[in-house]
């Protein structure tokens, strides 16, 4: 497969809230909940940020880093479960905001937390077939858990943009493979404000089954074993699931070191695995093999067998904030401010 990653960019909003602060409001031992989830804090978008603004910031960074002419972008897909409009594509605003319009195809993707990886696969097909020069795949979310629900301790905001092309590829895509079933572990019905989930059902039959089956299928297809990879990135709805699934599959903590970012910023949903990959690319040298396995409820997994190239060494990674910058920075806010920012307070109609 000729097509690969030619540039990438990340963005995480400035504000953070800790599980202990959330637990304080609901009468729970939030610190213990956070430890159980392996989430130290989660990101919170400002009142003027949403999936469109976060996607735009991530993509602008990617375009500057890769010195990519936005007019050469032939397709743009934004994966999210928190698109600001139910009808009017996020991708249209993002494309206009980066100067990619009007000669491109664009659409929004939704597959719970794996819409971003599905967008990468679509772009690989379009670029690989020669239909377009560059394809943009973005995974962004500003998801919410219902107040007091377990999800509230982890649901956060962030985005990552990947530009797929054939020139100056910094990370090759050797192969990609998916695993999809009808598994109702997590959903949000039309018009509902908050998602619902199947509690413990979200574990074994959903996340663990799909991620392990997809990862094993991928490694079998390319004849690889866990020790062949320098880095591994899993979807990370919390900090605990990816650690456990990595261990089940035979990966070490060293292989997961850079790919696990959720403990510092929370579960960014469609961006979760992609921010992990961006962090790996921020730190990787040339010729390092990466396994990435995304997961989306509903349910499905997308696996990618990746390898960095010599072009990554010369790639302008220092141009723009690295993922580590977002992990290290952030301003903590109390629950009341968080509730105001997230629109959880009902105001007078006026």
């Amino acid at each position: 497969m000729e097509a690969g990653i030619v540039s990438y960019g990340a963005y995480v909003p400035r504000y953070r809230i800790t599980p202990s602060e959330i637990g304080r409001v609901w009468g729970s031992d939030g610190a213990t909940v956070g430890q159980g989830l392996n989430v130290e804090r989660k990101s919170v978008p400002a009142p003027d940020e949403d999936t469109i603004t976060i996607s735009t910031e991530a993509l602008r960074t990617a375009l500057v880093r890769g010195a990519i002419d936005p007019q050469q972008i032939g397709a743009m897909y934004v994966g999210s479960e928190s698109h600001p409009y139910a009808v009017k594509p996020t991708a249209t605003v993002v494309a206009q905001a980066v100067g990619a319009t009007p000669n491109l195809t664009a659409a929004d993707f939704e597959f719970a937390c794996k819409a971003g990886t599905a967008a990468i696969q679509t772009c690989l097909g379009l670029v690989g077939s020669g239909m377009i020069r560059y394809g943009v795949a973005i995974g962004t979310d500003t998801s919410q858990g219902a107040p007091g629900d377990a999800l509230e301790y982890s649901a956060s905001a962030g985005g990552a943009a990947f530009v797929i092309g054939r020139d100056r590829v910094i990370c090759r895509v050797h192969a990609t493979r998916s695993y999809t079933t009808d598994t109702p572990d997590f959903w949000r019905r039309e018009g509902q404000r908050y998602p619902s989930h199947g509690g413990r059902f979200t574990g074994e039959p959903a996340y663990f089954r799909h991620v392990t089956e997809c990862a094993r299928g991928m490694m079998e297809a390319v004849g690889a074993s866990p020790s062949d990879y320098r880095h591994v990135v899993f979807h990370q709805p919390n900090g605990k699931f990816p650690q456990r699934v990595g261990k089940q599959l035979g990966f070490t903590e060293a292989q997961m070191r850079y790919g696990l970012v959720t403990p510092r910023i929370g579960n960014t949903y469609s961006a979760a695995a992609l921010l992990g990959l961006a962090n790996v690319l921020d730190h990787a040298g040339a010729g390092e093999r990466i396994l990435m396995v995304g997961y989306g409820s509903g349910a499905g997994s997308d696996a990618f067998d990746l390898e960095t190239t010599d072009a990554l060494v010369d790639f302008d990674r220092n141009h723009g904030r690295a993922v580590q910058w977002y992990l290290d920075h952030g301003v903590e806010i109390p629950y009341a401010v968080y509730a105001k920012f997230r629109g959880k307070i009902h105001l007078a109609e006026g």
């Binding site: 003027d48 949403d50 603004t53 500057v64 905001a97 980066v98 220092n318």
Partner: protein, 161 residues
């Protein structure tokens, strides 16, 4: 604001699309049809080319808003500033991702893409530029001129007979 009006202004609000006089080099934002600085204004007619600002700048003056404009109630107190760009124009914009007490005249800032307002719960959402501080340890990239020529190129006025 009407949908049509905002839509017409998206090149400047999304991509800082201004204009540049081919005769004297003066950059204008918002874009102009006639150069305000050329001695003979008519010389510039038809020579005003689209020009995109870099998004860099520094605070020339500012105020902290406590009585919010409609739609900004969730953000008080917030900072509204005049931002001097290296290209010349001074832009009015909100400074975000900062505590009001941290803003000072001369603060380096950079354009960021944010939600400006929404027409109620069911209406259209307006997006555009705001500014955020640019600190030394923050490698946020210059926006560069990543966008193509804005579609809002001012149409040359017809010379009156």
């Amino acid at each position: 604001m009407s949908i049509a009006r905002f839509w017409r202004e998206t090149p400047r609000r999304y991509n800082l699309g201004g204009s540049k006089c081919a005769t004297c080099g003066t950059v204008s934002f918002p874009p102009r049809v006639v150069c305000p600085t050329c001695t003979h204004h008519r010389q510039s007619i038809g020579k005003m080319a689209p020009f995109q600002l870099s998004g860099e700048g520094e605070v020339e003056s500012f105020t902290v808003v406590h009585e919010a404009a409609e739609g900004f109630e969730m953000q008080v107190p917030y900072v509204l500033a005049l931002v001097r760009t290296p290209e010349g124009p001074v832009l009015t914009g909100q400074i975000v991702d900062v505590e009001p007490g941290e803003v000072a005249i001369g603060l380096p800032v950079r354009a960021t893409f944010r939600k400006l307002r929404e027409e109620g719960k069911a209406g259209v959402i307006h997006y555009g530029y705001k500014f955020s501080p640019r600190t030394e340890d923050d490698p946020a990239p210059p926006r560069g001129r990543t966008a193509p020529v804005p579609r809002e190129a001012p149409a040359p006025e017809r010379a009156k007979a």
